[in-house]
Subunit: 356 residues, 2 copies
DNA sequence: TTGAAAGCGCTAACAA
DNA sequence: TTGTTAGCGCTTTCAA
């Protein structure tokens, strides 16, 4: 916060919260300081040359009154809005909060501010949120995934602002894209599993048909199995939120149905952790009797009895890279778009993916 | 989404993303439909009487052009902004995402939209975020905690909009408040532990001096112990993010230092889970040799080898109640404020808080 | 270094 | 049912 920021120290008027007063305007500060509105505006924005004396007077008056500028009016007049729309499918699975952290970290050093919208993996909801956010004329959009309705695509193309699609790179981006290939993630994991000598592999994942990235991982996984003349030995799907309990139930179910499985590939670390706990409790040796792997590399889970094999989804890096692209282009709108950033995480073998 | 929403179906112009075009205005739609700007405005907002024929023409034109209204101008003209500022300390610990979910659930049925700001538990950051958000003149503020800088308090008081402070009720709210008493939470948990017959109780928690709620829980806990003529037998503090690994390390440390402890009170479920895993691996019987309890009632953890004793922090309910207060008052600004909603969660005994 | 005038894109209020 | 006028609070542009 700059030292000119009227909030930076105490002394703001502690007006009693009587009936809703008219919000203060530049004019009020102008009158209180005996300086034109224009000059007050200049002081408050650190723009143009203002004498030190005037500056002091204005700042004092603003702070005394407790003036908070009206960005709505400012944005309308300047047609500049320092907001970046961030549109994500969910906050509940520990992956997107980290993306947001990455974004905030980068934007904190700029004038830009992230504004969050959540779609719950529903295209109609995405359309609605997008429409809502674009109507505030943000300086850029960061949005998860590449699959969306035609209407959403059209809005993004027509918005005339930088758009960064994140998480996934398997598809046609509208403008810029930052992420990993989920097909590759599935493929590479399958290869590591095959190489370790596992033969009868089961998959446990979400039923959610709208989680395109989970689907792509599975597709890549199956492709790699087929390339090695193998196929999935069994599958188990769930609905609703991920958690240890889900992982347990599913693991129990699949192992009872297919006791000869020697590897379990989970669509995320959380259900993988549940499966690990189930196996350990039931004396099923990991990774000897069954190996297992998840996806995401959730830090919170460091400290499970075994370290789960996984692959990093590069959440923070993705957020940071996306924010950097927006920040650069917001600074000089002339810049061409279409940046493609493809991250290449490796398999973390952990303790659960190795033939003993 | 109403059927009048111009985004609701395909057919939006898929203009090629040439150089940044001038964003469309009401005037463009007015010209394209041969109807006055004012009437176009009325159609798009479903306000006032408009003939079905005109309505059709306008909607068709808007959709064909791909018009997205400019809320900035709308807000300035109407001095109504359908935004609710939601200011939270963090997204990384699984508690606040659920609060946000609760808020969104309720606001989805209204015109209001949540806008998120994150403070990382830093008062200066809170001040900055608050200033930034208030400068958009939102319809209300939902903000975590009761402790904040004088400047922040002054801004909230002077904003002239409903303010709901959430999570905690131990203190003086500015306007409305929704939460639980963290003092009571600590006290009630201590009483349950004492009643179960545990005598030598250790505390494991965050060092973070700015997490007032964690501090209050500990205070209440210690108070209840003292009332029973007891005191904390040992304490262990950590810094940085919570995770199983932290819980393990701390548990190891405190039990090696004080092997005679018979109960471990963790400041949250995540480190509690880590402690549980540590004890089970090291043949420390739970709850016979040591009992344990956490805080928050994190759903994800259902499926641990033992169900951890805990107390619900009512995250979703708090979000919902807060949003409801804002929604009501935004609807009829004349309504008085100062609602106090105090939730009273009970101890969940689980498997880790009972003398065998 | 400061000020005055015009207008950003929309909506409230009123008129037709 | 539709249109006209004025102006929301600020910034841009130009003049002093």
């Amino acid at each position: 916060m700059s030292t000119d920021d009227p909030t930076s120290s105490a002394g703001i008027a502690a007006t009693t919260p009587t009936e809703a007063r008219r919000p203060l305007t530049l004019r009020d500060v102008s009158e209180a300081s005996g300086v034109s509105e224009m000059t007050v505006s200049r002081v408050l924005r650190n723009r143009g040359d203002v004498s030190a004396a005037t500056r002091e007077r204005v700042l004092a008056a603003a702070k005394k009154l407790g003036y908070v500028p009206n960005k709505i009016a400012g944005a309308l007049a300047s047609s500049r809005v320092n907001l970046v729309a961030v549109i994500l499918p969910s906050l509940s699975n520990m992956v997107f909060p980290e993306v947001i952290d990455g974004i905030s970290n980068v934007l904190e050093d700029t004038e830009l501010q992230p504004v969050l919208g959540v779609t719950h993996y529903r295209p109609e909801q995405e359309e609605k949120v997008l429409y809502e956010m674009l109507s505030w004329r943000p300086s850029g959009v960061i949005i998860a995934g590449l699959e969306r309705s035609e209407a959403s695509k059209a809005m993004l193309r027509n918005a005339g602002i930088p758009v960064v699609e994140i998480m996934d790179v398997d598809g046609e981006p509208i403008d810029s894209v930052v992420g990993i290939s989920h097909r590759r993630a599935g493929r590479v994991m399958a290869q590591a599993i095959i190489e370790a000598g596992y033969k009868r592999i089961g998959f446990l994942g979400t039923k959610m048909p709208l989680d395109h990235r989970a689907k792509k991982r599975l597709d890549g996984f199956v492709d790699a199995l087929e390339a090695a003349g193998m196929k999935l030995a069994d599958e188990e799907y769930y609905e609703g939120g991920s958690g240890f309990g889900k992982g347990r139930e599913m693991t129990k179910a699949i192992l009872e149905r297919s006791p000869d499985l020697d590897f379990l590939y989970y669509s995320n670390d959380l259900i993988g952790a549940g499966g690990m706990l189930y196996c350990m409790e039931n004396g099923i040796d990991i990774p000897g009797r069954v190996g297992m792997a998840g996806f995401n590399n959730i830090e919170l889970l460091d400290g499970l009895p075994r370290q789960l094999a996984t692959m990093d989804s590069c959440r923070r890096e993705i957020g940071e890279a996306a924010a950097r692209i927006i920040a650069e282009r917001a600074g000089s709108p002339a810049l061409a778009g279409g940046e493609h950033v493809v991250l290449m995480p490796k398999v973390t073998m952990g303790d659960t993916l190795q033939r003993q």
